[in-house]
Amino acid sequence: MFTPEVYLRLFERANAWPGRGLWMVVALLAAVPVLLFQPLSGLRRLVPIVMAAGWGLTAAVFMLQFYAPINWPIGPLAWVFALEALLLALLALRPPPGGIRPVVLICWVAVLLALSWMTVYETGTWWAIALPGMTPDMTAVSTAVLLLAWPRRARWALLIIPLVWFIFSVLVHWTLKLWWPMVVPAGGLAMVLIAWAWPDRPSQESGVSERVY
């Protein structure tokens, strides 16, 4: 095991990698809502590809490079993240999601931003911000949220790996007594359960994508 200080330093180090890597992640994040609002279905198909890139980046940088040396289960779990990236890439073969109401999207972004700041609140430095696409909890949470836009049939299998991760992560945070940062995987766990139960909209059930805003 390791100390809370060592764990929280992982976020600062990941955000410093490789100098401008942080901006690459921010650009990917900004691309998701932009793509979701594109009228062309071909562009909206890119959303799961961007998500897959986030899972891959999280596995390669945060998990394998920084986290695995201090926590041996993270090595195998990084490969599980790579598998999720592959599954998300395959999701791009399905019809893209329909439109999302702007108010829903704004709520999602607000929740994700609040969750991103938990590590900032705990450490007192902006450099510890936990970004989706770079840190595993936030990558998994944002994926669970975005998957609501897909039909249940397509989404349930993609929620298994986030569920396993959140259980593991809650246990790690519990052991470290990091209560504020634990809100992220605990919220993610709730999100996965919601996403499993979330009903399809009629247009999703028929597999036809539709813009509703």
Binding site: M1, F2, T3, E5, V6, R9, R13, F66, P69, I70, N71, W72
Partner: protein, 306 residues
């Protein structure tokens, strides 16, 4: 010219020589020499305060934290510490130790680690892997971690010791677990060391294991000397008792550590820390007086009364 040496002068000189020969002992009483205990198997002296690495030295490749841990380790050696204990189970702690030992020029290390694998055929591989990580030619002490596969590992470790590849061998437990099994092993096997949990709150080991260690000539290392930090929570904001100074104690860390190492069977306690101030307090327990039996009982009563 003959010097006028009379019998009285000669006897005075003899007395002074005798006193000088005893000077280190007198010095130790005043607190300037580290308190040591002998390893029963060889009579080698070890400082009674060592250093553990569980959690604290698992910092991966973080440059900032590596620098901080270097300062901790440097201070430990400067204050007379020798025994550093680790395990492959502690994540990157062994690799970090290897890195930091390479940075420090002056060190008097007693390197102790553990074999931690269920596969009893992997003992040699585990030892060699730890040697490579620490960057040491051989370990002073190799222990079987938490009795995991102890029968097969001990057989190989014994052979490695016979070949001069290891200096001492032992087994470990923690949290007061598997004491019955440990007792059986201590009775049957030729161990140099055992490592177990012993602190002012967890004293189960003193019923059978510590007397057995004395009887069998086995050195004892105490892990979890602060009960994983819970002892400090217990005494938080409480002042030290006024009589603590009589027992050579100036901090709560010293209180807990001196309680442990004042047990006659105890060879060494291995507190872990990430703070320089805490390391200073821990290493202060290496000097000065130790509590006697009556003071030890008073210490127990005081902590139980909090």
């Amino acid at each position: 010219m003959r010097l006028p040496i009379r019998r009285r002068h000669f006897l005075l000189g003899l007395a002074a020589t005798g006193l000088a020969a005893r000077w280190p002992k007198v010095f130790a009483e005043s607190g300037d020499e580290p308190i040591t205990r002998l390893i029963p198997a060889t009579g080698e002296a070890l400082p009674v305060i060592g250093m553990g690495t569980w959690r604290t030295f698992n910092v991966g490749s973080d440059p900032m934290l590596l620098d901080q841990r270097e300062q901790i380790l440097e201070l430990f050696f400067q204050r007379g510490g020798r025994v550093v204990d680790s395990s492959p189970m502690y994540g990157s702690a062994e690799a970090v130790m290897g890195d930091l030992l390479g940075r420090l020029e002056q060190r008097d290390l007693f390197a102790a680690t553990k074999v931690w694998t269920r596969d009893e055929g992997e003992t040699l591989e585990a030892v060699e892997n730890s040697e490579a990580l620490w960057g040491v030619a051989r370990f002073d002490l190799m222990q079987v971690h938490n009795l995991l596969g102890w029968e097969g590992h001990l057989e190989t470790l014994q052979a490695l010791k016979s070949q001069g590849r290891l200096r001492y061998i032992g087994v470990t437990t923690s949290h007061g677990r598997r004491h019955d099994e440990l007792e059986r092993i201590m009775t049957r096997e030729p161990l140099d060391f055992v490592q177990l949990t012993y602190n002012i709150a967890d004293r189960a080991a003193q019923n059978r294991l510590l007397p057995l260690a004395r009887e069998r000539g086995i050195a004892v290392i105490a892990n979890r000397p602060f009960q994983g930090g819970r002892l400090f929570d217990r005494v938080r904001s409480q002042p030290l008792p006024a009589w603590a100074g009589e027992a050579g104690i100036s901090s709560w860390a010293g209180f807990f550590l001196k309680f442990i190492v004042s047990h006659p069977a105890m060879t060494c306690a291995i507190p872990a820390t990430t703070q320089l101030a805490h390391m200073r307090e821990n290493m202060a327990a290496l000097y000065g007086r130790l509590p006697d039996e009556a003071q030890r009982q008073r210490m127990i009563d005081h902590v139980q009364g909090l």
